[in-house]
Each structure stands twice: as C-alpha cells, then as structure tokens.
Symmetry: C2
Subunit: 230 residues, 2 copies
C-alpha cells in the first residue's frame, strides 16, 4: 500500500534527510522511539527502515551509541554470478561447451591453500565455453574427489562442471575474486585473438564446512564485463 506509515516511506524520508544534509555525515539521528512518535508508527516499522539503510551502508548503528549517518557511505555493488550457460542464453545467444582436457593431478600450492587442504590428487578439467559458436570463456578447474566422490564418475564432456556441481554439490562458504589477466599464448590460441589482450577473470573457490570442493579460474574473452546498478 505504501502509505505514509510504511517502512519504505520512512526509509525514503530518512534517505532524503541525509542527502539534503538535514542530518550530516557523522551526526547522530533520533532514536527509534522518537522517530516512531514523529512518524506516527510502531517502533518496529522504524527499525525495519533504519536496518535497511544500515545494510546499504548509509547509516551505522550500535546499541546504546545510537544511529549515525555514515561518515563515508561505502557503495556496495551486488553482482549476480550466474551459470555461464544461462548468462549466454540471457544474451540471446546459443551456449556451447567443449571439454579440452580431463586429468588427475596435484594442484599447486596456491590452489591447495585456497582450498584449504593437503596435497593430494584431484580432478583437473579445462574447458571452453562458446556463445553462438564463438569463444566466450575458458575455464580451468580443480575438483577434490575426496569431498565430492561422485564427480569422479561424471562425463564432463556432456555436462559442464559448473552445472553438475550446482546440482550435486552445494557449498556453505566460498570466495570469489575479480581480476584482469593477460590472455596469454594458450588462451589466445583458443580465443583466436592476440595474447596481449586483457581478459576479465573470475577466480572462485567453494567449500563445505571448511573443506574445499572446487577451485576454478574463468578467463573471459576480451570485451567481457560485469555490471550492476548502484
């Protein structure tokens, strides 16, 4: 209904006061009870509004100390990390996929430490993802078959590791990193571009209860970008 006493209305009004400097960065704002009285609503409703703004980084709240306008509102950008195939299809293109190599081996220390485990044999997959038959992304992935035994018997030339894992091995924690890497000779070969190009790269590690499931480096073709609204 978005009436004058909805939490969204209160949120917007508080936002307005901050933007228009009625409440300045670093200053305390009235407590929830006072605001509830002012807006003529329950304290719960004010709480909901202020909590939303605190989640956005606009306010800082501490018990007893009260609520303050953040000194430096840190913009938070939220990105959806979709399954590659869905992302390609959302662009109106046809998703293709090819397994380049599937072997067993021991990852280097960097991968091991991010997976939080001792050196041991793991499944190593290298694959190429296509959009409308053109190269789109090259993926280098390690899977710990000690943690996900079923992965050892999967034919990853038919289903991508990404999709299989999403359906068969949910994680509890993970880490993701965005970076820019030179394409390099090997990827240039598959991408059909210069090795000096810059590729947007996503490095991701997922774990269950602290045990690493998979570590993957996804290098996108030059020109790829991720965007979101602020």
């Amino acid at each position: 209904m978005n009436a004058s006493n909805s939490w969204q209305t209160i949120r917007d009004e508080v936002k307005r006061r901050v933007h228009e400097r009625e409440w300045t960065p670093g200053a305390s704002i009235p407590n929830e009870s006072d605001l509830a009285r002012e807006f003529g609503c329950a304290r719960t409703t004010v709480n909901r509004a202020l909590r939303a703004l605190a989640d956005d980084g606009l306010l800082e709240r501490r018990r007893k100390a009260g609520t303050r306008v953040a000194l430096h509102p840190v913009p938070k950008a939220t990105f959806d990390i979709p399954i590659i195939r869905h992302e390609i299809e959302a662009l109106g293109q046809r998703a293709g996929y090819g397994l380049l190599s599937a072997r067993t081996g021991t990852p280097d220390v960097g991968v091991l430490s991010s997976m939080n485990c001792e050196p041991r044999d793991m499944l190593h997959l290298v694959s190429l993802h296509l959009a409308d038959d053109r190269p789109f992304m090259m993926e280098d992935r390690w899977i710990d078959t000690t943690i996900v035994p079923a992965a050892a018997n999967v034919d990853f030339s038919k289903i991508s590791a990404n999709e299989w894992l999403v359906l068969n091995a949910s994680y509890t924690e993970g880490h993701i990193e965005f970076s820019a890497e030179a394409i390099g000779d090997e990827r240039a070969l598959h991408f059909g571009c210069s090795p000096h190009g810059a590729g947007f790269t996503i490095t991701r590690t997922t774990r269950v209860d602290g045990k690493g499931i998979t570590h993957v480096v996804q290098a996108f073709v030059p020109g790829y970008s991720m965007s979101t609204r602020l």
Copy 2:
C-alpha cells in the same frame, strides 16, 4: 541470544534442509503459518528468516504461489566500493594523488549517453593515484558542472574528485561496470609497465534524479583485484 526460536536459527535450519535435499530445488516448502507452528514461534519470525534466504537467492517467494527452493541458486557477490584513499590505507600503504590534467570540453557520445544528457561542456579531470609512491590507479573523470556547479571552483589538485564528490554531491542512482582493459601506451607511461599488461577497470556513472553527475573510468595497475566472500 540465538535461542531455538531466533530467526537466525530458523534460517539455518531451512538452509540445512535445502542443502541436504530434504527440500529439493523447485519444490514448494510449507507456508509460513505451518513453519511457525513447527518451530514453535510467531509467523513474523519465520517471515524474517525466509525473507533473508530469498534475498540471498536460495528461495523464491510469491504471494499465493508460496515459497519454493530456487531452481538455480544464483550466487550474489557483494563488493564494497571504497574511496581509493581508504582502500590504499587499509592495505597499510600511504596514499598519494596527483592531478595530471584539468580541462573543459565535451565528452564523447558514450559518456554522454551514460550520463543521460545532451552534449555540453563539462569538467574533465585526469589523475594518478599512488600507493607508497608507486602508481596504483589512473582515473579519467567527467563532471557535469551544470548539475554540480560548486565543482567548477574546486582545486582538484588538493582534494581528489572522488572525495570531494562523496562529501558534496550525493547521488540517487548509479551504474558500475567491471572490465579488463589493456593498459595502453599512455597509462603504461605513468604506470611504468608494459602497454600489453591487463588492467582491472571500473567504470562508474552516478546520477541524481536521472541527471548525470559524473562519469569515471578507473584503470588499476596490473595485479589489482577485487574479492569477497560468497
């Protein structure tokens, strides 16, 4: 207190049931009233827990249709976009800054369209940010002085545009894009690196009530990355 009836407890229990396939992707889960009865708590509490999981993308909720386990849980990664100086200082380094050029001119159509405005003169700033005296990031920024007139009289060799704008021109909407760009000859000169390197690049536009305030391209030195937990 995190007792057995806290919303966090319910959230974790629901999460567990999804992860352990008691509730499978695509399936409906009991409605809020039933869950409240099961957990012995108020419906409000269940609502809070389920809403949090829906925000995370694990559940999909629709009035009347009920709550379902998401078919493809889309991981959402949230990044903090800090002020450069704070980011450098958080790394334990000393932040430096130099204005390379400040002129007036008309931006190209790409910039204009993302700022949602007609061709007109704007302030154009190019600057170099340093960490412990080493190059860190190069910034190319347009500021529409029609929208933020005060910016015309600021000495941007003393305060970075980023910091000045944060303090003096809050925005209502914005767009941010992460990409990988080749360093190129000009930046290579300032960075003291090869022009063939790959630079992590952030392109950001902010607006107030639809009117573009500023458009900025920040190219980071090779090796820079952004990361977050999932």
